[in-house]
Symmetry: C2
Subunit: 333 residues, 2 copies
């Protein structure tokens, strides 16, 4: 589905995901409508959500509601997801993207089910395993990308090389950088550091002339702006992101007098809920994973992120990028 920036954007919303129930969804919908005037939603969820939406007086012109009460347990096995949850709100929202009724979908549900259903319903762009990718703030108005953040439980060196290409193919659209500096997350920058799989991935990424590879980066430099794309496996990326969130949470949740002064002392650009919303790169369509525990603003930001990704045709662009293929394959074709 092609789209120009000025056109209205339709996002399919899984109204069953997330830890905060109908109240959280309704709050997020109202925020998102205020933030993005061209946004329309198709909301899939239980009747209680529909009632809450009506009661909230969210602009009924701007959303369609589809009754889809079936929610998927957060840690349901992929095999069971595909077998038993094909009529779930999550599956129906993905189907709306597949059918061209929505430009993007968003869910706060479990990562495992979301990745399994996205692969199954939308299909993969090919050559690369899909990966969750987030924008990380690295300075005022400046962002880096990090992937994978948990779409895959394990990753081979070849998978990590794939994530690098996926990130490089998407960076112009996600962080507006066309020749991104790429780094591999590791516990040190010296040659011999870290597990073998990371050192093998370094050799693969380093030998692809299309990638601007700078070597290893340590997790304390994720937010430094030293790299534009940080490549890691899903487990390690998730660990690093959550550790970072934990510390940011301590600084932003001080109380009393400290809370008052914190407004004047915090870096404006590092606001944890601003980086909610991970893109599932590598599937044929735009899928955004929102944090399960996201607040209203955070979930709204994720929806706007979905709309933004849709407006720049990220899905179409990725499918046709030569970077999706490994260097050898690119030479052959």
């Amino acid at each position: 589905m092609f789209l120009k920036n000025s056109e209205p954007i339709t996002v399919a919303l899984d109204g069953t995901g997330g830890d905060r129930g109908s109240e959280g969804i309704v709050g997020a919908v109202r925020f998102a409508f205020a933030m993005y005037p061209a946004l329309k939603l198709i909301i899939y969820g239980p009747s209680s959500l529909q009632e809450a939406l009506i009661k909230s007086r969210a602009d009924a012109e701007r959303y369609d509601f589809v009754l889809a009460p079936q929610a998927i347990p957060q840690d349901e096995e992929p095999r069971r997801v595909l077998k038993y949850h094909s009529r779930s709100a999550m599956a129906q929202a993905l189907q709306a993207v597949k059918d061209g009724r929505a430009h993007a979908m968003i869910s706060g549900g479990g990562t495992g089910p979301l990745v399994a259903l996205s692969r199954h319903i939308l299909g993969i762009t090919g050559h690369v395993r899909p990966a969750l990718c987030a924008r990380m703030p690295v300075g005022p108005g400046r962002f880096a990308m990090m992937l994978d953040l948990g779409a895959n439980a394990t990753a081979t060196a070849s998978d990590l090389y794939g994530f690098a290409r996926l990130g490089a193919a998407a960076s112009e659209y996600v962080i507006e950088i066309s020749s991104p500096r790429l780094a591999l997350l590791n516990i040190g920058t010296e040659q011999g550091k870290g597990p073998e799989v990371i050192r093998k991935a370094r050799d693969l990424i380093g030998s692809d002339p299309r990638l601007n590879f700078m070597g290893f980066i340590e997790p304390n430099r994720i937010f430094s702006g030293d790299a534009d794309i940080i490549v890691t496996d899903g487990f390690t990326g998730n660990i690093a992101l959550k550790a970072a969130e934990g510390v940011a949470g301590i600084y932003t949740s001080v109380s009393g007098v400290k809370r008052f002064f914190s407004r004047f002392s915090h870096p404006d650009w590092l606001i944890p809920w601003q980086y909610n919303g991970s893109l599932l790169l590598g599937v044929k369509g735009i899928v955004i994973k929102s944090h399960g525990a996201a607040g209203n603003e955070a979930m709204a930001i994720a929806m706007v992120e979905a709309a933004r990704a849709a407006s720049c045709n990220l899905g179409v662009m990725l499918s046709s990028s030569p970077l999706i293929k490994p260097a050898g394959a690119a030479k052959l074709s």
Copy 2:
């Protein structure tokens, strides 16, 4: 070597480690002397360090200097360390602990060389692979322990179970908690989350009746105080710690007016350099790894940490703790 709290404590200092050269060491020595009046040092390093110490007028009564110019490259292979660096400052400082001339040793050198030499010179307490353990602030005056932070590149489920017992055996001395709540670091708290090795470790730890095990903990809760001991493999622990440091660094390094207000807004208890100094638990002697890039205060804190560990006979206590043995072995013996 037995020791009462009031007795003077001697720490052997590897004066070749760390990224900041003689200047950093001298600054740290002066800080440490001021912080811990009963502290004495044996300092091993090059003649330039000796000259810098004399020039600084650090109290000559309180340190002995031993000329040991040989430094070990940060990422030297263990095999080469044992073969070529037996006269290095690091090795000599460890030998001082072995011979009973010092109660503890501290180094800002490479983790790999330090672990290899510690195992070789001091020997291991047995049953468990040594692990790097740090105290993490979780509230005003309250601490948790996290291990392993990088002594081992990989860990089996059995190793993780060993780290749990090592932590439990040391917790009374390191964080003054005698029945610690123990958790395993993972990307989620649900049963099926994370790689197989972590789920196997959960089963091992969970079936040892001597351990107060609460299950998985996510990295955003490391500083929450939910757990007293957080068990993880060296790679993951190092990733989480460095990600946390990176974010804390952003909040504490704001400049200008923000810097002024930050004094009134930051939580008093979360000061990154306060948790410098990791204990290498599981070797027969007290070994502290200081951060290579540690500032003067941070390195001094690490020395005081070494002295504190020495003063409570941590080494002797660990060797004799029944927890060092797995539950089955404990039943047999």
